[in-house]
C-alpha cells in the first residue's frame, strides 16, 4: 500500500473491454461479482470502443461541493486523495452525479447510496488485474500531497459520449455517432 497519494491513469486505446477491472472491483468491495456495483465501469456505446469509466479525481472536486448534507457525506481522503462517501450521511439526492462532468458516481443498486472509487485505500485492485493480464490500460501514479493539481488538471472527468465519439475517430478513421 502506498503512503503517497495515488491517481489511476487510463489509456483508453489499450482497453480490451474484458471487464476484469469490474470483476476485481466488485469482489473487493462487495464480495461478489457485480458489474453494476463496480466503481469502475466499462462503457461500450459502440463495440470496439470499450473504455473504463471511473473517478478522475478532479482537483476542484465538484461532487464534494455539490453534496448538500451538513456535514458533507462526501470528503477527500487526506492520504490517498480518493473521494470517500459516508454512507450514513448520504441522502441519495444524486447531486454528486449531476455535478460530476463525467457523471461518474452512481447510487448503489443495493441501498441507493452514492458510490465512488475509493482507490482501495491506496492499492487499486482494478489496476492490478489489468496489469497482470498485460493490457496495461490502467496504471497507478503516486504523487506527493499538493502535487495532485499539477498532475491531473487536464483530466477532468468527461462524459462517456464525448470519450466514445473521440475514440471512434481514432479507431475507425471517421467519427461515428454513438
Amino acid at each position: 500500500m502506498s503512503s503517497k497519494q495515488v491517481w489511476i491513469t487510463r489509456d483508453f486505446l489499450r482497453c480490451s473491454g474484458c471487464r476484469l477491472c469490474e470483476i476485481s472491483c466488485s469482489l473487493y468491495h462487495e464480495g461478489k461479482i457485480w458489474p453494476e456495483a463496480s466503481r469502475i465501469r466499462v462503457f461500450m456505446y459502440a463495440p470496439g470502443i470499450e473504455f473504463p469509466h471511473l473517478c478522475a479525481q478532479c482537483h476542484d472536486h465538484p461532487c464534494v461541493d455539490a453534496c448538500p448534507t451538513e456535514p458533507k457525506a462526501l470528503s477527500v481522503d487526506e492520504r490517498t486523495g480518493a473521494i470517500i462517501v459516508d454512507r450514513e450521511k448520504c441522502i441519495s439526492c444524486g447531486n454528486c452525479i449531476r455535478a460530476c462532468p463525467g457523471h461518474v458516481p452512481f447510487l448503489h443498486p443495493k441501498d441507493n447510496k452514492a458510490t465512488i472509487c475509493d482507490l482501495c485505500n491506496g492499492d487499486p485492485q482494478c489496476v492490478k488485474v489489468c496489469r497482470e493480464a498485460g493490457f496495461n490500460c490502467l496504471n497507478v501514479i503516486e504523487y506527493d500531497k499538493g502535487q495532485g493539481e499539477a498532475l491531473n488538471y487536464r483530466v477532468y472527468a468527461r462524459h462517456p459520449k464525448d470519450i466514445a465519439e473521440g475514440l471512434t475517430e481514432l479507431v475507425f478513421g471517421e467519427k461515428m455517432e454513438v
Partner: protein, 620 residues
C-alpha cells in the same frame, strides 16, 4: 442451487405473455445448462412430435441460455438453441459477449422464447421486468445500424426513466436481414463480428419476427458453492490463459497460414484443395495491415484472442470486423480464393452486416462458385455477377442476393445441403458431390484428408452437431478435443479458448466449486455428456419434416478425393478406415451398429422415454 440465478423466463410472443420457469436441482445436475439443458427442454416439449415440428414455424422454441459457469469462468458466453433449421436436430451454438452475464445479473438463467410475434419486435429485459416491444423501425436494418440504434435508444430511455446513474448500454443479441428473411445460414449476432452461427438460429429468430433481445441487470451474479475454492481456480486459469502466448498474441488468426500451409487442412476453393502457400495470408500481414486494436475481449477474458480490424483506405474502406478469426479467414478467404487481408475483412464486414454465419455462408458461396467454375450455373442465373474465385466484390453481391432471397439467392439461402438437392433437381445432376456438409451443417474449416489437423475420420460424420468443428466425435471420448469435453464448455457455457491451457478435470473442479454438484470425471464422460449427446442424436436421427439422418453418418464425397496439391498431395481417407472408426465410436458411446443409441444405453442414462419415441419414429 449455487451458480444459478434460479429461474428462467418463458416468453410467449404470440400471446405476449411472460411466465417464470424453474428446474429442480436434479434436472440441473443432469443437464447443467446451455446446450445440455437446451436438449432437455426441447426434448421434453417437442420430442414426441419432433418429426412434425417445422424449425421455422411458430411451434419451434428459441432458447437463449447461460450456464452455471457463465460470468465466473473467464470468457462469458451465451448458448442459443432450438430445433435447428439446418440439421433438424438440436444444436447448441454459443456466442461471446456480456449478454448472459447481464441476464444472470437481471435474475434469469435463460429465456425460453415460444410462438411468433404479430409484428417485428424486440424483447427488453430490465431486471425482473420483461417487455415485448415494437421493432418495426429497425426491421430491415443491417447489423451495425441495428445495434447502434437500439442500444442508444434504450440507454437514453433508461437515463430518463431510472435515476441513480448514467446508464451503460444494455447487452444485446440481434439478427440482420438474412435472419429476417429466414435464410438457413443466418446467425444470431452479438456486438460486432460475434455470432452464434452453427444451427441457423438467426432464421429461427426471424421466423418469430424477433429482431433483437436486449438485457440490463443491476444485481450481482449468483452465490457460488465454494467461493474461496472458485477464486483459487479462477486465479490459476487466468494465469494459464495469460501464459498462452500464441492465442494472446495472434488469436486463432494464427492458424490462417498454419492450417493451410503446414497441415493441409484448410478449405481452398470449396475444398477442392486444402493447401496454400499464400504468405499474404499469414497473421502478421493482418496485424500490420488491418488491426487497429491488438486486444479485444469479452467478459472476464484475459486472453483477448480477438483483435479489431478496420480497413481505413482503398477499395474496401470502412470495413470493420475482428481478427478475422481463423474460421472466417478461411471461409471468407481461402475457400473463396480471396488471399488479401483487406478483401477478407471486407467480406466479413459485409456478411456480418447482412447477419450471416461466416462459416455457413462461406460454405454456400464456395459451393456456388464451384458450380460457376464448372459451368453448372451461369452469369445470367446470378443476375449478371461473374462469380470468379478471388473476386470479393462478386461474392459480396451474391451474399446480398442470398440475404434478400433474390433470384438464385433464394435457393442458396437454404444452405448447402438443401440447395444442392433443390438445384440438383433443376439441373438434373447430383450436386451433393460439391456440398461439403454433414447433417445439413457446413463443415468447419478443419479438414480430415491430410490427417494432420485435429478432427478424426469419423469426427464430422458422427458428431452430434454435424459439421460443427467445435463439437467433433472423437476416440477416446475423454480427449480434450472430443465433443464430450466441449460439452462442458457449451453446457457450463464459457469460453473454449480459456480452456486450452487447463485440463478437463480442472474445468470439472471449477464446475463443482461453482455448483457443489460434485460430479466426477467418470460421471461427466460416461453419463452427463453421453446423456446430452444421446438426446441430440435422437433428434438428429428422427429429424423432419424435411431432412432426417437415420443411417446417414457419412463424410461429404469430397473428403474421399485425394488432395491435389501440397506436401500431402494424393492423401485421402479410405472408406473402410472411416467405417472402422465409426463402429469403434458407436461402441464407445453405446450405440448399435447402425448408430442408434441402444435401449440399454438410454435406460442407463435415464432416457427410457427417449428410447420409446426413437424406436417408434424409426420403426425399429
Amino acid at each position: 442451487m449455487r451458480g444459478y440465478a434460479g429461474k428462467f423466463a418463458e416468453i410467449n410472443l404470440t400471446e405476449e405473455k411472460v411466465t417464470e420457469v424453474r428446474f429442480d436441482e436434479s434436472t440441473l445436475r443432469s443437464y447443467i445448462g446451455g446446450r445440455g439443458l437446451a436438449a432437455k427442454i426441447l426434448w421434453d416439449r417437442l420430442g414426441e412430435r419432433w418429426d412434425e415440428v417445422d424449425p421455422l414455424g411458430p411451434e419451434n422454441i428459441l432458447l437463449l441460455l447461460s450456464g452455471p459457469m457463465t460470468g465466473f469462468y473467464p470468457g462469458g458466453r451465451l448458448c442459443i438453441s432450438g430445433k435447428s433449421p439446418q440439421s433438424n436436430g438440436i444444436t447448441g451454438s454459443t456466442v461471446a459477449g456480456e449478454f448472459p452475464v447481464e441476464l444472470k445479473c437481471a435474475g434469469w438463467d435463460g429465456l425460453i422464447i415460444t410462438g411468433k410475434a404479430k409484428r417485428p419486435s424486440y424483447i427488453l429485459v430490465k431486471d425482473s421486468s420483461i417487455e415485448i416491444r415494437d421493432a418495426t423501425h429497425v426491421w430491415g436494418k443491417d447489423g451495425k445500424r441495428t445495434l447502434l440504434t437500439l442500444s442508444k435508444e434504450v440507454r437514453e430511455e433508461f437515463d430518463k426513466k431510472y435515476r441513480g446513474r448514467l446508464w451503460r448500454e444494455p447487452a444485446m443479441v440481434y439478427i440482420g436481414p438474412a435472419g429476417e428473411n429466414k435464410c438457413r445460414v443466418a446467425g444470431v449476432q452479438s456486438k460486432w463480428a460475434h455470432g452464434a452461427g452453427y444451427g441457423g438460429y438467426g432464421a429461427v429468430m426471424g421466423s418469430k419476427n424477433l429482431k433483437a433481445v436486449l438485457v440490463k441487470g443491476t444485481g450481482p451474479l449468483p452465490e457460488v458453492y465454494d467461493q474461496t475454492r472458485m477464486l483459487e481456480l479462477l486465479d490459476q486459469v487466468r494465469k494459464a490463459s495469460i501464459a498462452n502466448d500464441v492465442w494472446r498474441r495472434w488469436g486463432t488468426g494464427y492458424l490462417g497460414y498454419y492450417v493451410g500451409n503446414v497441415q493441409s487442412s484448410e478449405p481452398v476453393k470449396n475444398w477442392q484443395e486444402e493447401w496454400h502457400d499464400e504468405k499474404s495470408f499469414a497473421v502478421d500481414q493482418f496485424e500490420s495491415r488491418v488491426w487497429v486494436k491488438r486486444y479485444w475481449a469479452d467478459f472476464g477474458c484475459p486472453i483477448a484472442c480477438e483483435k479489431l480490424s478496420v480497413v481505413r483506405c482503398g477499395d474496401f474502406k470502412g470495413a470493420i470486423t475482428d481478427n478475422p478469426d481463423y474460421e472466417t479467414q478461411a471461409y471468407m478467404g481461402t475457400n473463396l480464393a480471396v488471399f488479401t487481408p483487406e478483401a477478407n475483412v471486407y467480406l466479413n464486414s459485409v456478411i456480418e452486416d447482412l447477419g450471416f454465419c461466416g462459416i455457413q455462408v462461406g460454405n454456400i458461396l464456395g459451393f456456388a462458385a464451384e458450380l460457376y467454375q464448372r459451368g453448372i450455373i451461369t452469369k445470367e442465373e446470378l443476375d449478371g455477377v461473374e462469380l470468379k474465385w478471388g473476386d470479393a466484390k462478386a461474392f459480396a453481391k451474391v451474399a446480398e442476393m442470398i440475404a434478400y432471397r433474390k433470384g438464385l439467392g433464394d435457393i442458396l439461402a437454404e444452405g448447402t445441403y438443401r440447395a444442392a438437392l433443390k438445384l440438383g433437381k433443376i439441373k438434373n445432376m447430383n450436386l451433393l458431390e460439391y456440398a461439403v456438409q454433414a447433417k445439413g451443417i457446413g463443415i468447419g474449416a478443419h479438414g480430415i484428408r491430410s490427417g494432420l489437423d485435429y478432427p478424426q475420420l469419423h469426427s464430422y460424420a458422427c458428431g452430434a452437431q454435424g459439421g460443427d468443428h467445435t463439437s467433433v466425435a472423437y476416440i477416446p471420448i475423454t480427449h480434450p478435443s472430443s465433443e464430450h469435453t466441449t460439452m462442458l464448455m457449451d453446457s457450463g457455457v464459457y469460453c473454449m479458448f480459456n480452456s486450452f491451457s487447463v485440463t478437463p478435470q480442472f474445468q470439472i473442479d471449477f464446475l463443482n466449486a461453482v455448483t457443489g454438484f460434485n460430479i466426477s470425471f467418470e460421471e461427466w464422460y460416461n453419463e452427463t455428456a453421453n446423456r446430452i449427446i444421446a438426446i441430440q442424436r435422437a433428434a438428429l436421427l428422427i429429424g423432419g419434416p424435411d431432412a432426417k439422418w437415420f443411417e446417414s453418418d457419412v463424410n461429404p464425397p469430397r473428403f474421399y478425393e485425394p488432395l491435389p496439391t501440397g506436401p500431402c498431395k494424393g492423401k485421402a481417407p479410405k472408406l473402410e478406415d472411416v467405417e472402422k472408426m465409426k463402429s469403434e465410436y458407436y461402441k464407445a458411446v453405446g450405440w448399435d451398429e447402425r448408430g442408434v443409441p441402444t435401449s440399454e444405453t438410454l435406460k442407463k442414462l435415464g432416457l427410457s422415454n427417449v428410447d420409446a419415441v426413437l424406436k417408434k419414429k424409426l420403426g425399429l
